[in-house]
Symmetry: C2
Subunit: 154 residues, 2 copies
């Protein structure tokens, strides 16, 4: 990383992480280089995949997705086919923000956003426990979002 990114690249990355809609002119000024140089640097950071995407982050509560739920999942069998089948199915569920295969007491951890508890209970009964190979789930309702999706520090 340090081999590929100098101080200016890091500055651009951090600025864009804070405000992805900065104009090239503003970015250039804040980074301390000319607009032309800044444009080239930024383009490279995108092309080489340092920036995966630039995304507007919508306020969940404003679009009726104010409830957050963490769910631990245990599968019936720990076979590659079982995992693949589960992962294929979960990728289609739009309310799943995170799905991670983990080592420990669970097979998967899910992070789910829905409108409210009632909403979740319906989804849990109709969609989650119906996923292929699910033996049991453990639900952790989030009562307070202390830190949610903090920007990456580097």
């Amino acid at each position: 990383m340090t081999a590929k990114l100098d101080r200016i690249d890091l500055k651009i990355l951090r600025l864009l992480q804070k405000n992805g809609r900065l104009s090239n002119a503003e970015l250039a000024e804040k980074a301390g280089v000319s607009p032309a140089t800044c444009h080239r640097r930024t383009q490279r950071l995108f092309e080489e995949g340092f920036v995966r995407e630039v995304r507007a982050i919508v306020t969940p509560r404003k679009v009726d997705k104010g409830a957050l739920v963490m769910v631990g999942v245990v599968l019936d069998r720990s076979t590659p086919e079982s995992f693949a089948s589960f992962e294929q199915a979960i990728a289609k569920l739009k309310f799943v923000l995170d799905c991670h295969l983990v080592a420990g007491d669970f097979d998967y951890f899910l992070k789910i956003r829905v409108g409210d508890m009632e909403d979740f209970n319906r989804i849990h009964g109709e969609q989650l426990i119906a996923l292929p190979g699910v033996r049991q789930t453990r639900t952790f309702f989030v009562m307070k979002e202390v830190v949610d999706n903090a920007p990456l520090e580097f």
Copy 2:
């Protein structure tokens, strides 16, 4: 929500969620309105907080943060002071992406990004178990990121 956002607003929000650096001209064309109207709509969506922020999402692996760990935390006491103290301390730890107070077997769930397991072990020993009021932690190393930080569907 449906009362405040019409079809065009929703289109703009979804387009910006997919590509936060779309120019107003491109946005206007894709949304099917004039640049002037699109500009006003977009400005309103920002001003009224429908868009929390626009952020470049940096590829974790590219900046030596390729390892993801979920951690369940149990505190010694379940008092308001105990929670407040923990939350205040955790907000200062830059490697913590998520920290949520949950109902269930744990008090908090953490989502943490570090360089590798060794990195995590040092952090766990030096910083996590040293947090105020922590009785025990349970670590779930992420072996595969099936879905990470998916965009909100609405």
